[in-house]
Amino acid sequence: MWYYAARRILMSIPIALGVTVVCYALVLLAPGDPIQSLLPPDASPEEIAYLRKVYGFDKPIPVQYLLWLQRALSGDLGISLQTNRPVMLEVLNALSNTFVISVGAVLLAFSLAFILGTIAAYHIGKPADRIATGVAVVGVSVPNYWLGIVLVIVFAVKLGVLPATGMGSAGSSSFSIFDWNQAKYAVLPILTMSLVPLGIIMRTTRSAVAEVLNNDFVQMLRAKGLGPLAVLRHAIWNALPQVLTVMGLQLGYLVGGSILIETIFTWPGTGFLMSKAILTRDVPVLQGAILVLSLTFVSINLMVDLLQTAVDPRIKRA
């Protein structure tokens, strides 16, 4: 197992490197001179020439990439054009806010989806299954940015029980999920966000558990006199590796793909940051956020893979 784990960690290094290449290439592909995007439009030619030299833009592209990578690895992602603050600081600050709602959504979606999916798999073809699959299909079909608006109309505008947008007075520095006055700002974003992973994980759980229940050994378990719950326990342990993979992907999607939800709820996370950066064409922030988020995604997948080895004996002893 240790060999497998070490191998898996080594394998994610080239992927992470590839991710940095893509992030770097994005700026190259962007229309206009990259140096232009680093400077205010009214910069003088001397300033441009100076920066060109400092950032190494006069060198060949692979060298430029390596220089950029070197700076990125040391934590220097450049300076935001809008706030003039280091991009790293902005992104990390926003990331902690994103984690608040994505982890909340993850916990909600995962637990609900796993229970519903298992129930559906056990009662496949029966009303319980149809209802659960119906919820799942709606979950993956509904545009969640629209659902967010609808929820705001209902809970904030009509009922007035929950705040519509923002993070409350506390701000990101002292936000606590355990204080209702602050936590209530996270309720609607979390609800909206959890719907898609709920649908996807439920479907995966359902098909994975149903597939296991079709295996020969389930006949054997029943022949041993085990009841439905004991049989399900076996099925769940067998389906777990597959479900875990999808859960990991979904967690990554939530962290990396919260841009729409955060924009709607003006939640000051990475997505909101990127949304602002797009509007203002703040390329260093955009690039920095993408880099940090995709590397986070890579490491989440890595952790899930490692977790998987712990639950699957077929890998554990390999």
């Binding site: 590839g18 893509v22 994005l26 962007a30 229309p31 629209w146 729409l260």
Partner: protein
């Protein structure tokens, strides 16, 4: 090299009886015939497609004609059956026209990605070795981006516009479709009938054409069909962020975004584009599910 005379040639030409047995696709169609849910949503998709195609004929008003006097009117106001938007444009006309762009955003990237990703996947799966590694590791890098992030990143740096949006979405879908095609090909490649084809001396291209494609197309097609709804949602999402279709072109995602300010005035009217996206994406999802079930042959 080939000497046909070495074969035992048949003595007489025979007439083959009419096929009494259904082929694979015919039996899939037959199974779909009894799946009323799928048929119902297929009909909805057809309706949406037809409405979009004939939008120029059906739309009662010019979708881009603004009117300051008729801003944010409720449904049924004067001739505006579904009300008006924040610039006084007719909602019904805009929804009909918007279907065109939204469907384009759903279908074009998936189709393009299926061709490109499918081809790459089949090549990777069939050749194996370093070709496989080169293709699949590159895919892994793109797979290492959350799809929304990748779409936003690409169209964010390329700049907005529906063309860039579609390019971004295509790039987002290629890795996953490529993976499906690769794993299906790898699976089929090791089956006995492919070995038998190789044992009869067939060339690589002939084996791929006659024996691999037919068996890989199914899973790829099913997966791609399930991506259409994702593509519609993502495409509308990009427009919603101002990265997709540019105003004043009507598009459901964009409409949703510009109408956001109006939710306190006319919540129902403002929800309409979302409803349209939801119904379309739901229909594609359910039809894709139905297709998956119908194509699941148990031999």
């Amino acid at each position: 090299m080939t000497d046909v005379s070495a074969f035992r040639l048949p003595l007489f030409r025979r007439k083959r009886e009419a096929r009494e047995v259904r082929g694979y696709w015919a039996s899939v169609a037959n199974r779909l015939r009894y799946d009323y849910v799928t048929l119902f949503f297929l009909a909805i998709i057809l309706t949406i497609v037809l409405l979009s195609i004939f939008a120029p004929l059906l739309a009662p008003f010019d979708p881009t004609k603004t009117s300051m006097a008729y801003r944010m009117k409720p449904m049924g106001f004067r001739n505006f059956i579904l009300g008006t938007d924040e610039l006084g444009r007719d909602m019904l006309s805009r929804l009909l026209w918007g279907g065109r762009t939204s469907l384009m955003m759903g279908l074009v990237p998936v189709a393009a990605a299926t061709v490109i990703g499918g081809l790459l996947g089949v090549i990777a799966g069939f050749r194996g070795g370093w070709v496989n590694s080169a293709i699949m590791r590159t895919m892994d890098v793109f797979y290492a981006f959350p799809s929304v992030l990748l779409a936003v990143a690409i169209s964010g740096t390329l700049g907005g516009g529906s063309k860039n949006g579609m390019i971004a979405l295509t790039l987002v879908f290629i890795p996953s479709i490529c993976r499906i095609a690769e794993s299906a090909t790898t699976q089929v490649r090791s089956l006995d009938f492919v070995e038998a084809a190789r044992a009869s001396g067939a060339s690589t291209l002939s084996i791929i054409w006659h024996h691999i494609l037919g068996n890989v197309l199914g899973p790829v097609f099913i997966f791609a069909s399930s991506m259409i709804s994702v593509s519609i949602l993502l495409g509308s999402g990009l427009s919603f962020l101002g990265l997709g279709v540019e105003p004043p072109t009507p598009d459901w995602g964009l409409m949703l975004s510009t109408l956001r300010a109006g939710i306190y005035v006319q919540p129902l009217v403002c929800a309409l584009p979302g409803v349209a996206i939801f119904i379309t994406s739901l229909s594609f999802n359910l039809v894709s599910d139905g297709l998956r079930q119908a194509m699941d042959v148990k031999a």
